[in-house]
């Protein structure tokens, strides 16, 4: 199908883009990679007064590292495309979990166009980037004519497909604290490159005596938005991730989920899969750590 009529603006700066958003008072949307917006318009799931193309806005597609040690942070511009993340040596060394998860998104053409900021604002509950950013404890920088603010990923969603943005706000940057030492990712998809049935991303630090701390377990596709399984994480603090620890923590993840039934899977099936994949991800975390020790 063809999109319904709309006006088109090409913004040359963030200031221009947010001014236009404000003038249209909720009737306009920013056009970033277009990999979610364009299908919705073509299918007429959405009718908009105007699109504001931000692809020409300079300075929003970089990856930069600042600070050192515990204060190290990596800043990624909102318009950074998936393909740039895939190929950036800087991203590979500073944000390895994000880069691993990017490779699970869509296909080559989708990754050539889609952007990190677009994926976060789209807020698909099964999407990889919101889950990665949540587990990595990222903060989202937002600008509007009224000034700027930062939103923690944990507070970035009101619900599914509902980012906590005002209509005049634009995401400009995603800021990541120092990357955790260890990480693992596991997801189930029905078809290659499809949106997932569920996904699990885990991170953690391991002391020289083999005890784990700051274990974070993020779950995608099993709630309105990606969630952290806090009780399960707490169960693992100070443990060596022995089989019993992992089994009990995996069982505790049930508290964090409220899975939907849709065309990809029933709620029961998803609830069954969560501990299975959490167990796998934690075992992977453990074995990667041992492999690193041996090196």
């Amino acid at each position: 199908m063809k999109a319904a009529d709309f006006l088109y603006h090409r913004a040359g700066s963030v200031a221009e883009a947010v001014t236009l958003l404000d003038e249209y008072a909720g009737e306009a949307r920013l056009l970033a990679g277009g990999q979610s917006l364009m299908p919705m318009l073509n299918m007429r799931l959405w009718r908009l007064g105007a699109l504001i193309d931000v692809n020409q806005v300079p300075g929003l597609d970089g990856i930069e590292v600042e600070g050192q040690g515990d204060l190290e942070a990596t800043r990624v511009g909102a318009l950074t495309r998936y393909a740039s993340l895939e190929r950036s040596p800087l991203a590979a060394s500073r944000l390895p979990l994000l880069v691993e998860m990017v490779r699970h998104i869509g296909d080559r053409q989708v990754r050539n166009r889609g952007t990190l900021g677009g994926s976060l604002v789209q807020g698909d509950p099964t999407a990889e980037m919101p889950l990665a950013c949540l587990v990595l404890d990222a903060r989202v920088r937002v600008e509007s004519g009224r000034g700027g603010r930062e939103i923690a990923m944990g507070e970035f969603y009101h619900g599914s497909y509902a980012a906590a943005l005002e209509f005049d706000e634009m995401v400009t940057e995603i800021r990541f604290p120092r990357h955790p030492q260890h990480f693992a990712f596991s997801e189930l998809t029905r078809r290659h490159g499809d949106f997932c049935v569920l996904s699990v991303a885990v991170t953690g630090e391991c002391d020289s005596d083999g005890r784990w701390h700051d274990v974070r377990i993020g779950l995608g596709g099993v709630n309105d938005m990606p969630v952290l399984a806090e009780a399960a994480s707490a169960r693992l603090a100070g443990t060596r991730l022995a089989d019993d620890d992992i089994r009990e923590a995996a069982a505790l993840t049930q508290e964090a989920i409220d899975p939907p039934s849709d065309m990809r899977a029933t709620a029961e099936y998803r609830a069954h899969l969560v501990p299975v994949h959490v167990r796998r991800a934690l075992q992977q975390l453990c074995s990667k750590n041992r492999a690193a020790d041996r090196r």
């Binding site: 199908m1 063809k2 999109a3 319904a4 009529d5 709309f6 006006l7 088109y8 603006h9 090409r10 003038e23 056009l31 277009g34 990999q35 364009m38 299908p39 318009l41 073509n42 299918m43 105007a50 699109l51 193309d53 692809n55 393909a83 869509g106 296909d107 080559r108 053409q109 989708v110 050539n112 166009r113 290659h192 490159g193």
Partner: protein, 189 residues
């Protein structure tokens, strides 16, 4: 607030298969329709118009994209390559097209322009790729006829030939550079 209706139409200047062209399009028109209906290049096919089938894949500024998910207006200033750019001037098929023919990489041919442009963009990256990687890289175009085997084999053969030629070219360039450097050093001493 009122907006001029002229915003509903866009003037678009682009380089299409090496040729400068200019045309108008309604704002809501996607790039695939623009290429077909306004520029007469009907080699780019349209299937789902929701980014799933990959029939509309073309190269924009060297990258493979689904042109049903871009607006015509976004091609302004861009360099666009469609399947019409592949065959040689005398009408002979290029090496990639010949590989598709040889390996039975097409039956009805509806998906072929998409695969050809995706493979062309892969070759431009100049990386060696395993069959597994090729499968992954071409997964964004669907084919309902061939079962993909012939397509993957054709792309594999084409990439390996391109790679070999690319490295021969780079070696030749390298030795020219080395010669140049040698001469420069000799000139200095």
């Amino acid at each position: 607030m009122s907006f001029e209706r002229t915003l509903n139409e866009q003037e678009i200047s682009l380089t299409l298969n090496g040729e400068r062209v200019r045309a108008w399009a309604p704002s809501r028109m996607h790039a695939a329709d623009f290429l077909r209906q306004r520029l007469g290049r009907t080699g780019t096919h349209v299937g789902c118009e929701q980014g799933v089938c990959g029939m509309c894949t073309v190269m924009v500024d060297g990258q493979a994209v689904k042109s049903c998910l871009m607006l015509a207006a976004q091609l302004d200033g861009a360099e666009v390559c469609t399947v019409e750019s592949l065959a040689e001037e005398n009408g002979n098929l290029n090496a990639l097209q010949q590989a598709f023919k040889k390996h039975h990489g097409l039956q009805c041919g509806f998906c072929t322009p998409g695969f050809l442009m995706l493979a062309t963009s892969l070759a431009a990256r100049g990386e060696a790729m395993s069959r597994e990687q090729i499968r992954d890289e071409v997964s964004g175009v669907l084919c309902r006829c061939t079962g993909y085997e012939g397509i993957v084999r054709a792309v594999e053969e084409y990439l390996s030939v391109q790679q070999a030629e690319g490295s021969r070219f780079r070696q030749a360039e390298g030795s020219r550079h080395a010669e140049g450097a040698q001469q420069a050093m000799e000139a200095q001493s």
